[in-house]
């Protein structure tokens, strides 16, 4: 009889390692959103992100026998996503630069207290996004991973192929640059 049990990640990974595709399907569902977003950041392409993510998740399953289940799963997965995104970029020969865009979700704008506040909020977002897109690539990727996707330092280090100390310094420098560019941008008066 099937009893309810906490589906801790390590249990899922151990099951997947012995060929349990149902357990792996659950792992995929837990991590797919992050995998797709990191694929977009590393490859610079929103259109390719889902394909890269799918390939990475297939390869991760096939690589499971090289993975120690007692180590955290997501940092390990991030390295595979990175490799897949870089492979894809090498294949096309194009250098694509990550360009982040805001989603214009009418629902979030309705939550603003006034139409003027909504316009100001959109303008500020647009300025911040433009400033992020202007950052040097290393800083842009580090800031996007840490703040926009919410990866830990370790996960960011694996996703970007850099040391944790480098994640810290690129994030700090990125934030300092962003502050600098926003302060010198004239504020729009509504």
């Amino acid at each position: 009889m099937v009893e309810g049990r906490p589906l801790d990640e390590e249990a899922l990974v151990v099951s997947a390692q012995s060929g349990d595709l149902g357990a792996y399907a659950e792992l995929v569902r837990r991590h797919q959103q992050t995998v797709v977003r990191v694929a977009m950041i590393v490859s610079g392409s929103s259109a390719d992100a889902e394909d890269i993510a799918q390939d990475a998740l297939v390869k991760a399953y096939l690589a499971l026998n090289r993975y120690h289940a007692d180590r955290p799963f997501r940092p390990w997965l991030m390295r595979i996503v990175r490799n897949e995104a870089l492979n894809r970029r090498r294949g096309t020969g194009r250098r694509v630069r990550l360009e982040l865009r805001a989603s214009h979700d009418p629902a979030s704008l309705d939550a603003a207290p006034s139409p003027e506040a909504a316009v100001i909020a959109r303008d500020e977002q647009a300025m911040l996004l433009a400033a992020i897109n202007d950052l040097p690539q290393g800083q842009r990727e580090a800031v996007a991973c840490r703040y926009l996707v919410g990866l830990t330092e370790e996960e960011t280090a694996r996703a970007l192929g850099i040391a944790r100390g480098t994640v810290k310094s690129r994030t700090a420098r990125g934030l300092a640059s962003l502050r600098g560019s926003l302060q010198s941008t004239p504020q729009k008066v509504v």
């Binding site: 009889m1 149902g22 569902r29 797919q32 977009m40 259109a47 993510a53 007692d70 506040a117 840490r146």
Partner: protein, 256 residues
């Protein structure tokens, strides 16, 4: 100066990411379609894989529904024994740090660790000590049970984390006006924030005044507040009143 950091976190929820898709279906389909070393093993593995997918889905069902599914599978000639595997530490995979005993955790950090005095909760199922950029973090973990629903996407019912740090109150005040997902609440005489909708990250200020992001582990709701220089957070699948009730019982552990 820190207003920009706050805006970054808010921006994270509004980026135009690629559209959400359930990749588990195509990924599993591709893995099943791979040629297997022995032809006869393939159909057995396919049946097993199907059974596993069904079983994973049924874990969200009621007990009687699960029993019905298990009986269906037995009739189909597939019997799955879940009893034999050793269980890994609860909360593994959430990157909470090193698992230790509560008594050791209390000795390892320079701030008071509070534990809930809720009879129904009991002692935590696991305690973790983690290394943040600026100091240690203690996390108390309770697995899901009949009183604690699992926070979506995990088998964890409740996390209570504490570490030295000041909340970036400016961001929360701003978000209150721009989002319906954050409510200001009073927690133990302090200003706290109840955040719904699976936030991924929040900001705190370390003892050197630097703003640091910290990632949220569970995809449920978060109660966040600062008490005497310590930032506490409760992550769970519970509603606001239930979490506030737990927070109200927090106190220094009694000498046994």
């Amino acid at each position: 100066m820190t207003d920009m950091d706050n805006q970054l976190v808010a921006l994270g929820g509004r980026i135009k990411w690629p559209a959400e898709a359930d990749l588990s279906i195509p990924v599993v389909a591709r893995l099943q379609a791979r040629p297997s070393p022995r032809g006869e093993a393939r159909s057995w593995r396919k049946a097993l894989a199907f059974a596993m997918v069904v079983i994973v889905a049924t874990l969200a069902m009621s007990n009687s529904a699960r029993i019905a599914v298990a009986r269906f599978l037995e009739v189909a000639g597939i019997r799955i024994d879940f009893g034999a595997t050793t269980s890994p530490p609860p909360g593994s995979g959430l990157q909470l740090g090193d698992r230790i005993e509560l008594a050791e955790a209390l000795l390892s950090v320079e701030f008071p660790v509070l534990v809930p005095a809720d009879d129904q909760l009991g002692s935590p199922d696991a305690v973790y000590l983690n290394d943040l950029p600026t100091g240690n973090q203690v996390t108390l973990l309770w697995e899901e049970n009949s009183l604690l629903p699992a926070a979506p996407g995990s088998g964890v019912g409740l996390l209570i984390s504490s570490f030295l740090g000041n909340l970036e109150a400016g961001w929360y005040a701003k978000e209150l006006n721009e989002s319906h997902r954050i409510t200001e609440v009073a927690v133990r005489g302090n200003t706290g924030f109840w955040i719904e909708g699976s936030p991924h990250v929040f900001l705190y200020q370390d003892s050197e005044g630097r703003v640091q992001p910290e990632s949220i582990r569970l995809a449920g709701n978060v109660l966040l507040w600062e008490e005497d220089g310590v930032t506490l957070r409760i992550e769970s699948g519970l509603g606001r009143e239930a979490v506030l009730a737990i927070a109200a019982t927090l106190r220094a552990p009694q000498e046994s």
